[in-house]
């Protein structure tokens, strides 16, 4: 398709054409209407003047006879720019007036007539000045009335129509020009606007082609005019932003899965190999196999956690949202972990006075909280200070703050340095030290994923000393991003 062809096919250009036609028709109609009415108005005026003239002159005739009429007509006819007058005898002989060269038979009939004529003075001038013959050749047009006077005389009074015709022609030509100008300007404007729109759409099309080829970093051009194309581009850009984030997330997840699973798999393989090489008796094999099973259990655990996070991230678990009491969840988790904490020489307490109802996935929230408590127990050291004995080392809390429900786990362990805090909540980022400790090390990631699934967040802060982890969830559950 040629560039011009493409231009003519744009919606803008087609719209321009439609509007242009409508507007041109309208302009033509308006001017035509104006022209016709002006013409009619002038004709009416002439008619009035002529009628008045005739009734005046016939009055003069009635009072003073033909002599008086001839005198009056003569004097009136001599005024410059005056009406046309002609008084003729019964035989058609002109007696007075300023008109000549009337076509034959004009005076024969009474009433209105449109006729060509020449003024007498003009005719004389024309004969004197041969230089302007065109005036002689072009007789004027007049609207006249022939009136039969009693006594056989005929009176013709008329008025030149040149003025009327000239006005009519001015209006008509103005109409022609304006329609032409409207067409030219409209077409040019349409052309310009279409080309502008087309250029922007073409730019967007080019960008989408690049994006489709796999470069998700591209963004649609935004002109900054805030018009509908900009709004569209902005929305599409926001969509691309989201897609890119998801794609990056996916890539990151798969990279991390590869890392997280390959490390224990390597250990597993090494162990089996070593057993084959060095084992001497059944008990050696047994130990190696036990180790293998343990290692594969660990692998399964990591795999489950990763799947779980992926599910939470993808929002699949949103279907199972129900209303539940976060305080109850906190109490249950506290009850589950309390013996373990005690065994580690720690005091775990839940501080939940009021119900904290929220909409969410109870199982996932429980799991997230369990992970945080598990971490707290793992990293807390029992305190030696006898004065503080009895005060909880790990405090679990659930409460409302504004339109959010906060599930808090506060410990008095080593905490996380401030510089690492933001880092550690990011997906799959773990501090090196946590990799060497027992467990999958995905606890915080999972808690953060669960929080995000609910439209909330995981906040880490300093507990002076220790770490305070907060799962902040909106009461009403996740808000649909579309709204």
């Amino acid at each position: 398709m040629t560039a011009l062809g493409k231009l003519f096919r744009t919606t803008t250009f087609k719209l321009t054409l439609v509007y242009l036609t409508i507007f041109a028709l309208f302009a033509a109609f308006l001017l035509g209407y104006f022209a016709l009415n002006t013409r009619r108005l002038i004709t009416e005026q002439i008619t009035d003047v002529v009628n008045a003239e005739i009734s005046g002159l016939s009055e003069q005739y009635n009072q003073g006879g033909i002599v008086r009429l001839v005198t009056v007509v003569d004097s009136r006819a001599r005024r410059p720019g005056s009406n046309l007058y002609l008084v003729s005898s019964f035989a058609g002989q002109p007696l007075a007036g300023n008109v000549t060269s009337l076509p034959g038979g004009v005076l024969d009939e009474q009433g209105w007539v449109e006729t060509t004529y020449r003024r007498i003075d003009e005719a004389e001038q024309g004969q004197q000045q041969q230089a302007r013959p065109e005036q002689q050749r072009a007789p004027h047009l007049a609207l006249a009335r022939v009136y039969q006077l009693p006594g056989g005389f005929r009176l013709l009074v008329g008025r030149d129509l040149e003025e009327r015709e000239r006005l009519y022609h001015i209006v008509i030509s103005a109409g022609r020009w304006s329609v032409l100008i409207v067409l030219v300007l409209g077409l040019a404007g349409g052309f310009f606007v279409s080309r502008r729109v087309l250029r922007r759409v073409d730019a967007m099309t080019d960008t989408t082609k690049t994006i489709m080829q796999g470069d998700l970093g591209e963004r649609l051009p935004v002109a900054g005019t805030g018009d509908e194309i900009d709004r569209l581009a902005e929305n599409l850009n926001a969509m691309l932003e989201r897609i890119e984030a998801l794609m990056n997330g996916l890539k990151e997840v798969s990279d991390n899965i590869a890392h997280d699973l390959k490390t224990p798999l390597t250990r597993l393989r090494n162990r089996a190999e070593q057993a084959l090489r060095t084992a001497r008796d059944e008990s050696d094999y047994r130990t190696a196999l036990d180790g293998t099973i343990e290692e594969s259990d660990g692998l399964i655990r990591i795999f489950d956690a990763l799947l779980m996070i992926a599910r939470a991230e993808s929002g699949q678990a949103r279907e199972n949202m129900t209303e539940f009491d976060a305080a109850e969840v906190a109490r249950d988790i506290c009850e589950l972990y309390e013996p373990l904490a005690e065994e580690n020489g720690l005091v775990l307490r839940a501080d939940t006075k009021e119900a904290a109802l929220l909409r969410g996935n109870r199982e996932l929230v429980s799991q997230a909280l369990a992970n945080l408590v598990d971490n707290a127990i793992k990293y807390s050291a029992p305190k030696r200070d006898a004065a503080e004995a009895g005060a909880p080392d790990i405090l679990l809390g659930a409460g409302a703050e504004g339109d959010r429900i906060l599930l808090t786990v506060a410990d008095r362990g080593p905490g996380i340095p401030e510089a690492d805090r933001l880092h550690v909540v990011e997906r799959f980022v773990r501090l090196e030290q946590s990799r060497s400790r027992p467990g999958s090390g995905l606890g915080l990631s999972l808690a953060a994923a669960v929080a995000r699934l609910h439209g909330g967040e995981l906040i880490l802060s300093d507990n002076h000393p220790g770490l305070k982890t907060v799962i902040a969830l909106p009461r009403a559950g996740p808000v649909q991003t579309a709204g």
Partner: protein, 226 residues
């Protein structure tokens, strides 16, 4: 016990059939849904072990057809889909228990034995007794010999579950699911600590221990004197 394994992975089937035989059960196998449904309809099985994803007829449809025909045989669903909503879907379809892959054989065995027993002893006794340990489910009282034992509510439920399945292996996951109603892995063995607390309450000071740890599998409440 007569068992039917419906699973399309031949290796897994062979392994299961052999393993069940080793512990004294009879196991038949089917490798697709239609064959499995036919065998199951012939009847005579104590527990069915059905994989969710099967050729010809998927596991949940097999269960649906069995239940339609009025077969009440307990069904354990095996599945690679292990999330909570998958489990809920499986149980809703008529399964009695749900075990995500990969599983350990001891876990599978423990669950199957519980399922088979549930069928035999449907009637819910109000007084559970193992040796000289008594648990009254109505009055929430626990006594060992003539000595009353005070338990926390959760400890009571834990002991109740163990005693209801006395003589059977109960795994940690089964306890977490049935006593705490959690379906996730708490990473650390929190259950062990709860058990040792319970053990110190019911076994401490008695010559005959009742709460046993079964290595590599779980726990069992059993009257050792018998």
């Amino acid at each position: 016990m007569r068992l039917l394994v419906i699973e399309d992975d031949r290796d897994a089937v062979d392994y299961l059939v052999k393993a069940f035989r080793e512990v004294g059960h009879v196991a038949d196998a089917a490798t697709d849904g239609e064959e499995g449904l036919g065998l199951a309809l012939d009847g005579g099985y104590d527990v069915l072990i059905i994989d969710r994803m099967l050729p010809k007829l998927d596991g949940l449809s097999v269960i649906g057809k069995l239940r339609e025909k009025g077969l009440e045989v307990p069904v354990l669903i095996l599945s690679a889909l292990g999330q909570v909503d998958d489990r809920v879907k499986g149980l809703r379809a008529g399964g009695d228990d749900y075990l995500p892959k990969p599983y350990s054989f001891s876990e599978l065995l423990a669950r199957i034995e519980v399922l088979a027993r549930r069928r035999v002893g449907r009637n819910e006794e109000t007084l559970l007794r193992v040796g000289d340990l008594e648990l009254d489910r109505l009055s929430h009282q626990v006594c060992r010999g003539d000595q009353e034992i005070t338990l926390q509510p959760r400890e009571f439920r834990l002991l109740e579950y163990l005693m209801r399945h006395a003589g059977q292996v109960v795994t940690r996951t089964m306890l977490l699911e049935n006593v705490w109603d959690y379906h996730f892995d708490p990473q650390t063995n929190v259950i062990d600590v709860h058990i040792s607390r319970l053990r110190s309450k019911i076994d401490k000071g008695f010559s005959q221990p009742l709460l046993h740890t079964i290595r590599g599998a779980g726990y069992m409440v059993r009257d050792g004197a018998r």
